[in-house]
Amino acid sequence: MEELINVVDWSRAQFALTAIYHWLFVPLTLGLGIIVAVMETIYLKTKSEKWLATTKFWMTIFGVNFAIGVATGIILEFEFGTNWSNYSWFVGDIFGAPLAVEGILAFFMESTFIAVMFFGWKKVSPKFHLAATWLTAIGASLSALWILVANAWMQYPTGCEFNPATMRNEMTSFAAVALSPMAVSKFLHTVLSAWTLGGVFVCGVCGWMMLKKRNMDHCWRSLKVGAWVGVIGIVMTMITGDTSAVTVAKYQPMKLAAMEGLYKGNHEQSIVAFGILNPSKQAFDEQDPYLFDISIPYGLSFLATHDFHAFVPGIEDIINGKSYDNEGNEINTVSYAERMERGKQLQEMMAQYDQAARSGNQVVADSLKTAINADFKHFGYAYLDKPEEAIPNVPLTFYTFHFMVTVGGYLMLFLLLALFFVYKPQILAKAKWAKWWHILAIVTVPLTYLCSASGWIVAEVGRQPWTIQDLMPNKVAISDLSAGYVQITFWIFAVVFTALLIADIGIICKQISKRSQTNLDTVND
């Protein structure tokens, strides 16, 4: 058992490492793709060579990041087949279908149109080239869509039926999988946050160039597009973040409770604006969950339900299966102890199904299959040793959530100021503190990456211990491997991905430095 826990931990660490590294490349591709497409659109409207030069500058940065990042996500699929084999079998075609669509889209849209984008300046008409640039940007977002649909299904499994004959989930409705509330809010929140990152990246690079007093006109042109895309991105990220919170409250209440460090829920529940958790707090121990907190009254009730007076369940309420309506009447949902019991009954029914199917008693088998699917949402609880095992890592979820929200608020302010300076450049030109603004813009770039990674940590750590919410915990999803085997590949990935990241940052910095020393008001190549 100890060995199994180590395998689970190492496999999770390996998946987290590769996913976070992969995600360092993806949002810049998504964000810069849109920014480059907007810049080229302006060039085509104005026919200004300056805009063409600016477009080509950012297109080069986009190309470097795309080239280094491409295929880094494929590692995650390797890991599914090796480390998470029970999971891979169990999800059946549900995971395969969106990933197949992603593969086709990525291959045909991105690889075709990206070639036109980089090689086609003198080969195709300007309008066709612009279309290729937009299709590359849209294709990248569509690729992300299908990955996010697959991830959303793991958070909220829907549109499927379990087949005990094959021990696989089978898709019953592609629309239900692709358009689930979790998938839609996850896609919008993720892609729009990438726009924010792209906008901040442009501000940061321009900040560095303006600090060096290089190509100031090019910087102002870039900032005009970058700041607008960034502002639209952060406003929409906040709006979709609100939708995500409502979706999480409905389908993953334990995650929401962990995000807030909420053990006992209430009507008119406040939200923690700033807080320090009590590190010794455990569920049901009556200790105060916070050492210090500043809370906003009614905040969490409104965030979770858009109703200031609604009850928001805490971790202990969810485990006990208790909730309340707005009149204060107790609503008994299913406690985790009962879910564990029902999960074990499902296991027994699966064994009975197997016996019935083997003995050719199809009537009994069919009846058991119907019964299994009717209660299947409790299946994963069969593997819990105690209800508290279903509580995620509260401190990590709490702090990363609050970091993400705090930095998100800062980014809104930063991008609005950046946009203000775009239209009032004389203020920045005369200001003695202009240098500090540029430095702030540079520092904001890594901060935005951390914010983006924090969002993923909230989403993934907050749903632990589940690989598939309520259906399959990590310890069941894992392959029967040795921990040492997984450790070896963990360190190989750590080295390879770090080398790729160094190459990415190195080449991008070199290109920015080199190109910023040329005249970016004319086309150089």
């Binding site: 470097v64 280094i68 494929i74 080969k123 790729l500």
Partner: protein, 77 residues
């Protein structure tokens, strides 16, 4: 090759020259393609072949055997 020549050629010839001329005229792109090549070699030849076999396929030959293996893992646990 002039634009006029290109338009007189067939579609596939134009596609070929788009890539051929594009690759020939690359500057930073050559370094990137080298990195992509090395990366894909490491991912698919070294990592995938040596360290990431399909676990179930290595244990079972048929889908029925895989079903039984997973059933044992999920039901008999």
């Amino acid at each position: 090759m002039s634009d006029n020549q290109a338009t007189k050629q067939g579609f596939w010839s134009q596609v070929f020259h788009l890539y051929y001329d594009g690759f020939r005229s690359m500057t930073v792109g050559k370094t990137l393609w080298l990195i992509i090549g090395i990366k894909l070699f490491i991912f698919f030849v070294i990592i995938k072949m040596l360290f990431f076999p399909n676990f179930l396929s290595s244990k079972c030959d048929t889908d029925e055997q895989k079903t039984e293996y997973v059933r044992h893992q999920l039901v008999d646990r």
